[in-house]
């Protein structure tokens, strides 16, 4: 077919992981270009001049940025193993939940990780409220996409791994199996799915990275 697919990413970017998973689920061959964000390549700056970030998908020389936009592009271009549902209403719901994930869920869980004391308690309450909406959405389903992993699973998927990294680093339970049984099962099912399982960033590297971020946050908040 003469297709050339390149993915610009970093080793830990949770947004880039969405694209890795999508490409692998659809069996699309691609070349990985690892970026050092402290020293951005000229190609990165050329392909994403607006945000200067990863991930960027380059298909036959044409770049696409923003991970959820890239997922839709992949789904429209390669029709096998569809990620979004066919029904327009179901598609709208999938886009709604992915947006909720990005706008509210990820940031609220990050707040639980990075804050201390009373602020952390408040952040946990907010995160629980958000997760309860996801719990409700999981009723009767194995994945957000139904029987198979879909767009929403990929959008939220980093949580299946990241939450346990956060919990281990701060020594606090964020997702309690008793309070969020369906979401908890989803995290297990997603993390253990063959393609996902083989494509996580190394856990030991993740723990080191996030410990360093937490140390820096604590240091800067105590010195201010």
């Amino acid at each position: 077919m003469g297709e050339e697919v390149k993915l610009f990413r970093t080793w830990s970017s949770r947004f880039a992981l969405r694209i890795v998973w999508a490409l692998k689920i659809k069996g699309i061959e691609y070349e990985t270009v690892f970026e050092d964000l402290s020293n951005k390549s000229p190609l990165l700056l050329q392909y994403n001049p607006v945000h200067k970030k990863v991930p960027i998908l380059v298909h036959n020389g044409r770049p696409i940025a923003e991970s959820l936009v890239i997922l839709e592009y992949i789904d429209e271009t390669w029709k096998q193993a569809p990620l979004l549902p066919e029904d327009p209403y179901e598609r709208a719901m999938a886009r709604f939940w992915a947006k909720f994930g990005d706008d509210k869920v990820l940031t609220s869980i990050w707040s639980v990780f990075i804050k201390q004391g009373k602020e952390q308690e408040e952040a946990l309450v907010a995160a629980m409220e958000n997760l309860k909406f996801l719990e409700e959405e999981m009723k009767g389903k194995k994945f957000f996409g139904g029987e198979r992993i879909g767009y929403v699973d990929l959008a939220l998927g980093c949580l299946a791994n990241l939450i346990s990294v956060f919990e281990e680093t701060i020594g606090l339970k964020i997702v309690d199996e008793e309070k969020l049984p369906l979401f908890y099962s989803w995290m297990q099912n997603f993390a253990e799915a063959p393609i996902i399982r083989d494509n996580w960033p190394p856990r030991d590297k993740m723990l080191v990275k996030f410990q360093a971020l937490l140390d820096a946050a604590i240091a800067s908040s105590s010195s201010s």
């Binding site: 001049p49 607006v50 696409i64 592009y73 209403y89 598609r91 709208a92 886009r95 909406f133």
Partner: protein, 225 residues
């Protein structure tokens, strides 16, 4: 065709995104004005998570988040398409819709400031955002959608009409013909498109509404104007 309702508020640019899309495609709908200071049971039932407008209700099923609604309208009613055919160009259009949602809100941060560091910061952010639109989004096209308006133009509607109001109230000028020539022209061209021209909140009324809103907001922070 199943019944279409739109729950919105008259000053909201997000409400207008949906109005423009429905009217451009010739879709009849019932408009319901919501009072956000006294949210209706209907709104809370249709949007329990965010409790916000706009909400599109199609055949009794609600869709929330204006960017999601725009895509839904495009999926259900393909006439007068808001997205191009080519997959890469569609991705570019979606990129700009996401940019509109994630970056344009800085103009509302500017709206909520008075003179000082915070305002300078918000001004700087807004200018950078507009610079990105001028140099990378619009470039030398008439509209973000090319020769006709598309989903990205609709998403940037705030910049065409509401930003002028913000500039007036805050006392700053951001978009000028010599600093942002293409964007400046776009604000005029966009509002000349018949469906847009016929469906904008009246400027004077908008100014009165937002002036009061800004005053109330600043008063709660102990800041006068």
């Amino acid at each position: 065709m199943e019944e279409v309702k739109l729950i919105g508020t008259w000053p909201s640019p997000f409400s207008y995104r949906v109005i423009w899309a429905l009217k451009l495609k010739g879709i009849p709908y019932e408009y319901i004005e919501e009072d956000l200071s006294n949210k209706s049971p209907m709104l809370l039932q249709y949007n329990p998570l965010h409790k916000k407008i706009p909400v599109l209700v199609h055949g009794g099923k609600p869709i929330c988040e204006s960017a999601v609604i725009l895509q839904y309208i495009e999926d259900v009613w393909p006439q007068n398409p808001l997205l191009p055919n080519d997959p890469h160009e569609r991705a570019v259009a979606r990129f700009w819709v996401q940019f509109a949602d994630n970056k344009v809100p800085c103009i509302w941060r500017l709206f909520r400031t008075t003179e000082g560091d915070e305002q300078e910061e918000a001004k700087k952010e807004s200018m950078e955002m507009l610079r990105a639109l001028e140099e990378h989004g619009l470039r030398d096209k008439k509209f973000f959608g090319g020769d006709k308006i598309g989903i990205a133009d609709i998403a940037f509607g705030q910049v065409a009409h509401w930003l002028e109001m913000i500039e007036d109230l805050v006392g700053v000028k951001l978009i000028e013909a010599h600093t942002f020539p293409h964007l400046h022209a776009w604000t005029k061209n966009f509002k000349q498109v018949p469906i847009i021209k016929e469906n904008l909140p009246e400027y004077g009324e908008m100014l009165v509404y937002f002036k009061r809103a800004r005053y109330n907001f600043l008063a709660t922070r102990g800041l006068g104007i």
